[in-house]
């Protein structure tokens, strides 16, 4: 078996058809994860009784276990739970009617939520406390002060971490193949096994992921420069 450079291109083209799926999984899980992460971060920053401990445990547990475990737990656990509930209430609804992709998205959102909550929390805490006090002093309410003063600055501070999380979730989306969702990696596997050309197919997949990662990094660094232009007189 010799390396066939032409087949790298062939499989690269074939993999492009799975690109939307990978991007969809990544964007949805990071988007939903961002919402979960914000809530968790606020619960912990404002030290809401009981809830802050639950939030802290959630973050520690998710960060202490592999993403693959979250996927398997949700993929095997959630349908069983749904069926048990619907059985107890005598509904006709079963988990089999839910597409697998939904479980993938739920589990990855939970994963992303924990990591993003740490990013958001550190970003918010990195903003000088005086900024919030100044906002109160000119008569802003807490939501206003958070939304208009703290969050924009926190966003600028945590941009590198956000981009890391986004890239992490992009790479993590390759795990979805274990539950038969056809994203880039699963597609590469299919291309590899049907043509018996593993090396070429995985080189193509690696190039595709690498390309997207570099694009994200470049995009974020441009954004970072832009944001910091207006931020010069602020925290930094």
């Amino acid at each position: 078996m010799k390396l066939d450079p032409g087949f790298i291109w062939t499989s690269f083209v074939a993999l492009l058809s799975a690109l939307p799926m990978t991007l969809f999984i990544t964007v949805v899980s990071v988007g939903v994860g961002f919402v979960i992460g914000s809530i968790i971060a606020l619960l912990r920053i404002y030290k809401i009784p009981v809830l802050q401990h639950i939030a802290a445990f959630y973050v520690t547990f998710i960060r202490g276990t592999p993403m693959l475990m979250h996927l398997f737990l949700i993929y095997f656990g959630l349908p069983a739970l749904i069926d048990a509930i619907s059985g107890a209430f005598g509904w006709t609804f079963t988990s089999a009617s839910i597409p697998i992709l939904v479980f993938v998205l739920i589990s990855f959102s939970i994963t992303a939520g924990a990591y993003l909550s740490e990013v958001i929390r550190s970003g918010i805490l990195a903003v000088d406390k005086g900024q919030l006090e100044a906002a109160y002093a000119i008569g802003m309410k807490t939501p206003q002060a958070l939304w208009r003063i703290v969050l924009p600055q926190a966003f600028a501070v945590s941009l590198p971490n956000l981009s890391n999380s986004l890239i992490g979730m992009l790479h993590g989306s390759s795990l979805a193949f274990t539950v038969t969702a056809v994203e880039i990696f699963a597609k590469a596997n299919i291309v590899a096994t049907t043509n018996w050309k593993y090396f070429e197919a995985f080189i193509a997949a690696a190039l595709l992921y690498w390309g997207i990662t570099v694009l994200i990094e470049k995009g974020v660094s441009i954004l970072e420069k832009r944001i910091n232009v207006y931020n010069r007189g602020g925290v930094a």
Partner: protein
């Protein structure tokens, strides 16, 4: 899918999975040790600005940070034997575990090289100058002055790499390596109690990563023990890019 949930199975599976913990830990330890060597080799050309090699190390780091570990696993598992066959070395009898360790070593090497670079950059330039001033050679100054300080600074990042590596080992089962996750697959298939298996497995991973984290915290405290001004340590860390998380965690602890 599977049978009814039964709690007993969780307790039953934990000791069975723990029997394979040593293999998981072996993968982590071997790949991190190799990764340290790789990381240092990759970081050196960029720290000392060696022409060509510097470029190569940038590409190396970008590639291993820019592709999923799963792809790297498959690429090396299927690609390396073919490349080696080209120079007539037969690796068909090499166990899967060797490929897994090799991949994780290259992967963590890329991250470790970035940690080394950031940490060495964070050591005050005056330290090296002072070392030269009392007559140390470049090598001495690096190994005796810069490195010990850099190690202490980079410890939180290094801890993250090790824990991430532990979690990534769960992917080795895709190549059929028999570590904890691989065992969990067979246990799940034979008993049809998948949820229980994954709960037990998650608990083990969780406990191991918490223990690792604590150990690294202890090590960090010990290494920074002889620093005269503990208060200035966080500020030095703030110079490192993308270290907000560990730094912030420490801040919370001291409060």
């Amino acid at each position: 899918m599977g049978r009814r949930f039964e709690f007993v199975y969780i307790l039953d599976f934990i000791p069975k999975l723990l029997g394979y913990l040593q293999i998981t830990l072996f993968i982590v330890a071997a790949s991190v040790v190799l990764g340290l060597v790789v990381g240092l080799i990759v970081a050196l050309p960029r720290m000392y600005n060696i022409p060509v090699l510097k470029r190569l190390s940038v590409i190396y780091v970008s590639f291993f940070r820019g592709t999923p570990i799963l792809i790297q696993l498959f690429l090396i598992y299927y690609g390396l034997p073919e490349l080696l066959k080209g120079i007539s070395i037969d690796v068909s009898k090499v166990p899967v575990l060797a490929f897994v360790i090799f991949t994780y070593a290259l992967h963590s090497g890329a991250f470790i090289s970035e940690a080394i670079r950031a940490a060495v950059g964070a050591v005050d330039r005056g330290q090296v100058e002072a070392a030269y001033a009392i007559g140390m050679s470049g090598f001495e100054a690096f190994t005796r002055i810069v490195l010990p300080q850099a190690v202490a600074i980079s410890l939180p990042v290094f801890a993250n790499v090790v824990i991430a590596n532990l979690k990534d080992t769960s992917l080795a089962f895709t190549l059929g390596a028999m570590e904890m996750t691989g065992k969990s697959q067979t246990l799940g298939l034979t008993t049809q109690h998948f949820i229980e298996v994954y709960i037990s497995l998650s608990l083990i991973y969780f406990v191991v990563s918490v223990i690792l984290e604590r150990l690294f915290q202890l090590a960090e405290r010990r290494m920074l023990r002889y620093q005269p001004e503990l208060a200035s340590t966080p500020s030095r860390k703030r110079q490192l890019p993308r270290l907000l998380l560990p730094q912030f965690k420490k801040g919370g602890e001291q409060a």
